[in-house]
């Protein structure tokens, strides 16, 4: 057993209101430099929709992630020879139009326009060409089902639905959508690391954050293709690739990443997971339907004495183990099994988990009145507005049982809370639902508390990084560097303007 620690995250989709505050916090902090105009390390997508970049989930087009060939796992992008021959021309890169042409507005015209009969307007200007631009694409072009005949209708997750089901989904009374915020998954088997020709991408040993070395990167852009989630971006200004760094400078100082910190709906949870690195290869090769369960089995119980001993042997200290025991991600993913990885069929073992949304109450309208009485108040998961197949395509590699189980638990929690606090639902019905979901009332209470009433310390359980000790390990005797500036780094830091 090779126990390692991973800072893993959970997003509760029922709580996301799609305000994009996370995207802006991230953008303000990291991607407001020349060359990063089009980058959204964090973005929020509307589902059904095609996301950003357009149709990123369609790996027949972008060739991201891994595929199982016989008993070996290979990048979808091709073998070594194939990639070498395409080194100078990677044919599967998204083009600028598949992202969007970044723009700003001609604000000075508002002040300098000559007098005329009309109000001056600030026309959009391309940040690439500096010319006026007719906007026809943006990072959230299909937000809230905008342009859904083009975008939502082409969502690849709808493929398994019948034509009738699709028609029903897009009929005006049945229209439904939810939000899917996305950051880098900091996978255990990252596609970007697997295809990088320069060996510039690495997974940090202490917390599993996947980073692109800006010194080693040679700008081949294979990570852009190799990542099935399209989260590495190419910076045209520096000629290097960049990606979400999970705000590690913030985490090292005890703060949650910016997108977590700024989340209005408080949907984001972050904590430590312990996993067995020896089993990664084996887990990535299981059949698609078993992927989610296999990935769960990779996560180790931080209270198990055997795991603790193995973790300590690997240098994981007590404070990290303590954080792992309190980790909200561990509870949602492993204990309660309600949080699921996004598109586990890409076989990268993503370490960002989503709690699927229950979506609104199903009701009928009669004579303009909203009528919930003729159905059970919350309906049932089978009558959910978004078909189970769709959710399964997103979160469980097509395995509907896993989705049903998670939804049943969430349903039972909601019903039991309604029964005990509001009384809209009969206690017996709630108890039956709890039994069907296979959880006790105590667990339902616990899930409810962590979902609806969590404090900051419950949501963000970050262990101390002990950078001061890491420095001792790197440099040996700290006395050696007394009276020196810094800690013996190889180049002097660049100061801002």
């Amino acid at each position: 057993m090779d126990v390692r620690a991973q800072i893993a995250t959970t997003f509760h989709l029922d709580k996301c209101i799609g305000c994009h505050t996370c995207s802006l916090a991230c953008n303000n902090l990291w991607t407001s430099r020349p060359g990063t105009e089009y980058m959204w390390w964090n973005n929020v997508e509307t589902k059904p929709g095609t996301g950003y970049p357009t149709l990123w989930e369609d790996q027949d087009k972008y060739r991201g992630g891994w595929e199982l060939k016989g008993n070996s796992l290979r990048p979808r992008l091709g073998g070594r020879v194939g990639m070498l021959t395409n080194l100078f021309y990677n044919p599967y890169l998204p083009a600028m139009d598949d992202y969007y042409e970044p723009w700003t507005y001609q604000y000075d015209h508002l002040f300098n326009a000559p007098q005329g009969p009309d109000q001056p307007t600030a026309r959009p200007i391309s940040k690439v060409t500096g010319q006026y631009l007719d906007l026809e694409a943006g990072p959230n072009w299909d937000d809230d089902l905008g342009g859904s005949p083009v975008y939502a209708r082409n969502d690849v997750n709808l493929a398994k639905l019948t034509e009738t089901e699709q028609q029903a989904l897009f009929s005006i009374e049945q229209k439904v959508f939810f939000y899917l915020p996305r950051i880098c998954n900091h996978c255990l088997n990252p596609g970007c690391v697997g295809v990088c020709p320069s060996g510039a991408i690495y997974k940090r040993a202490e917390d599993g954050v996947v980073l692109v070395s800006q010194e080693k990167c040679r700008g081949w852009r294979f990570c852009v293709s190799g990542c099935p989630y399209k989260k590495p971006y190419y910076n045209w200004n520096t000629g290097k690739s960049e990606k979400c760094i999970l705000c590690y400078p913030r985490m090292e100082t005890g703060q949650a990443p910016a997108c977590f910190h700024s989340c209005v709906g408080r949907i984001r949870y972050i904590g430590v997971l312990l996993y067995d690195a020896d089993r990664i290869e084996e887990i990535t090769k299981v059949p698609e339907a078993e992927l989610v369960a296999a990935q769960r089995s990779l996560i180790l119980d931080p209270a198990d004495p055997e795991v603790i001993a193995a973790a300590k042997k690997n240098g994981i200290d007590d404070e990290w183990l303590e954080a792992a025991r309190k980790s909200p991600t561990y509870k949602f993913v492993k204990e309660w099994e309600v949080a699921l990885p996004l598109h586990s069929e890409f076989r990268t073992l993503p370490m960002l988990f989503y709690i699927p949304p229950l979506l609104p109450v199903v009701a009928t309208t009669e004579n303009g009145n909203y009528n919930v009485a003729d159905s059970e108040f919350f309906g049932s998961i089978e009558t959910s507005r978004i078909p189970i197949q769709y959710m399964a395509s997103l979160f469980s590699a097509g395995n509907e049982e896993i989705i049903k189980k998670a939804l049943r638990i969430l349903w039972a929690v909601r019903s039991s809370q309604q029964a005990s606090r509001v009384g809209l639902i009969d206690e017996d019905v709630a108890a039956a639902q709890l039994a069907e979901a296979g959880i006790t009332a105590e667990i339902a209470e616990e899930i409810s508390r962590l979902t609806a009433l969590p404090r900051v310390a419950d949501r963000y359980v970050l262990p101390p990084y002990h950078r001061e000790m890491a420095i001792e390990e790197l440099t040996g005797d700290t006395q050696q560097h007394k009276y020196e500036v810094g800690f013996g780094s190889t180049q002097s830091p660049r100061r801002g303007p």
Partner: protein
């Protein structure tokens, strides 16, 4: 956290080292192959003329240099060939002008010098730059002075042109064989590079010959047989000297080449038009082949995901 983990994360990558080694070796092999191929072309000779450079101090060199570099086009008292008869030239022209013209004829002509312009008009062929140094030019001039008939006056200069002797069946020149020598189908006996490496003759091949040196289509009518013979035997121009100095043409080869030049002198223009069309045809065909090949190799490439969606509209 632990030191050993961090080291593992930054581990030395043998793969990268191997990739570096392999690419270095490839580059070296390609480099050597490239150098080797160019070396063959120029026969390994350095572009210098070791025979003359640095050995100019003796007046006696004048004769040798004249034989090597001037005899092909000029006589002293033998009548005009390609260029004028030099008998008594020292009396007709200013000494500095003669030296300047021998050393850098191209510059003198380009400067619009009236005498040089007049000569060019009269003889039609500009004198090439022969890489003669100023000291050598003085030696040559001294030699010409010595060889000139004593009291040559401008009026007595022989201006009768020595007519080019046309090749007859009897001279032993085989034009077809000459063509083979020119194109390199038949190697030169002493290992010199084929003429086509640097020279072109209209209609010689679809893509023409080299563009380094003069087009030789009109060489026969311009220089005549004796002029060509002298040039081919003495190879007076610096580049030719470097190539053929150590590997001279044999007499038989010279005769055959002259026969070939004589034959191609007439047929020039028509062939030239044809080869231009063929060249264009090959260019277009080549372009098509490359485009089709690239399209086939990368037929599965990604093109405009979003645009395709928008144009396709709803399903």
């Amino acid at each position: 956290m632990t030191g050993d983990k961090r080291e593992r994360a930054r581990a030395f990558r043998p793969g990268a080292v191997w990739a570096g080694l392999v690419s270095t070796v490839l580059v070296l092999i390609l480099g050597v192959a490239f150098l080797g191929s160019t070396g063959n072309r120029v026969s390994g000779a350095t572009l210098q003329s070791p025979v003359f450079f640095g050995t100019y101090s003796q007046n006696g060199n004048g004769g040798t240099i004249f034989e090597q570099k001037c005899r092909a086009c000029h006589t002293i008292g033998g009548g005009r060939l390609v260029g004028p008869d030099l008998d008594g030239v020292a009396g007709r022209r200013d000494k500095d002008w003669i030296i300047g013209f021998i050393v850098t004829p191209d510059q003198v002509i380009a400067s619009g010098d009236p005498a040089a312009t007049q000569l060019l008009k009269e003889y039609g062929t500009p004198m090439p730059n022969l890489g003669v140094s100023e000291h050598e030019a003085e030696d040559v001039l001294a030699y010409i002075k010595a060889e000139s008939s004593d009291q040559a006056s401008p009026a007595e200069v022989k201006t009768t042109k020595v007519q080019p002797v046309l090749i007859s069946e009897g001279t032993g020149g085989d034009a077809a064989r000459g063509r083979d020598i020119f194109t390199g189908s038949v190697s030169l006996k002493n290992g010199g590079a084929a003429c086509i490496s640097c020279h072109n003759i209209d209609g010689i091949a679809a893509l023409g010959g080299g563009a380094v040196a003069k087009n030789l289509t009109a060489s026969y009518s311009n220089l005549g047989e004796s002029g060509l013979k002298a040039i081919l035997e003495t190879t007076p121009f610096p580049l030719m000297e470097a190539i053929y100095g150590p590997r001279p043409l044999e007499d038989g080869e010279v005769t055959q080449l002259i026969a070939f030049f004589g034959e191609s002198a007439g047929a020039g223009q028509e062939a030239s038009d044809q080869s231009a069309i063929i060249f264009l045809g090959i260019g277009i065909a080549g372009l098509l082949v490359i485009v089709i090949l690239l399209q086939t190799i990368w037929r599965g490439r990604l093109s405009g995901v979003r645009q395709t969606l928008v144009k396709g509209g709803s399903k």
